[in-house]
Every structure is written in C-alpha cells, then in structure tokens.
Symmetry: C2
Subunit: 95 residues, 2 copies
C-alpha cells in the first residue's frame, strides 16, 4: 500500500500517466513536448521509476535514429480507477 502511493508519488508521474492515458504510445520527445516544464533528467527518472514499478512499459525499436515508445502496462491501466477515485475526491472536496 505504501508502495502503491510511492508508485504515483513524484511531481511528474501523474502528468506522465495522464498523457499516456490520453494517447498511447508516446515517444520520449512527445512527452517532453507534452510536459514542457520537465527536464530530460526528471522525465527519464520518473519514467524509469514507473517502469520499475511495472506501471509503464518501455519499448525500444532498434532503428537509427533511436525510437522508443512508452505504454501503460496492464497494471498501469488497472491503476486508472484508483486515480479516478482520487480525482473524484479532489473534486468533491474542492481541494
């Protein structure tokens, strides 16, 4: 349970998840453009953390130039109802 929150903690993870929900897959540069204020360092760091937690999947196409896609895993998709519950709470409490 602590790990469940940890999996979503971090300034950018929700934003990343949001953009993946809106449209999948996303390339690294797409996420960069979608979240202008994130640095490359933070973006890759959060993506790796989400990957390590089994929430997003990183798919590498061995091409030149490099091509990497990020998708939600099944567990990532399964997280959506919980995020919606949090969202509903936030709306209801006007927080």
């Amino acid at each position: 349970m602590e790990r469940a929150v940890a999996a979503v903690e971090g300034r950018w993870k929700l934003l990343i998840l949001h953009h993946l929900l809106v449209r999948e897959p996303r390339r690294f540069s797409e996420l960069e453009r979608a979240i202008p204020r994130v640095t490359q360092k933070m973006l890759i760091q959060q993506l790796r953390a989400l990957e390590a937690d089994g929430i997003v999947q990183r798919i590498v196409y061995p091409e030149v130039p490099p091509h990497v896609e990020y998708r939600l895993t099944e567990a990532g998709t399964a997280l959506v109802p919980a995020l919606n519950a949090l969202h509903d709470w936030a709306v209801d409490t006007e927080l």
Copy 2:
C-alpha cells in the same frame, strides 16, 4: 488532482490515516506509540500538513497537562474509498 496526491504523499501520512481509521480520536502520544519509527518532528509535520489539507482535525482541550486529539474530518473520511481503491490495486498487482 496533483494536490490530491500531495495530500497523501509522505512516508507517514498513510500510516497516520490508517491509525485514525482504526480508532478515533488519537492523541499525539498515541500516534507516537502506534508508529514507533516516526520522530516527533516528522509526526507533527505530517499531522500539520494533513490538517492544512483539511484531512485531519486538531482539537485542543485547554487542560493541564495539555490534551490534543486528532480526528478525521469529513473530507478525510471521504478519502477512504480512494485509498481503498489504491489498496485494491496494490493487492491485485502484487506490488
């Protein structure tokens, strides 16, 4: 929505919320005993943050010695379903 997660972020907040769910109200010293590894500094800091976010209520009884109780607010109680959803996800994904 970011604030919704922020309201629950922090190593001790879930633990505090848990103990308040199990039994209300709780005094400061009860929470200290319930969560042995938290320092006073962190405990009060997280309690204040939860209070600022409208999730817990701090009730002071003007007695000697001092007597302070912590309770969930209505918004705090309303948060429970969302926490359960997160919990279910954590269990289902074996995270």
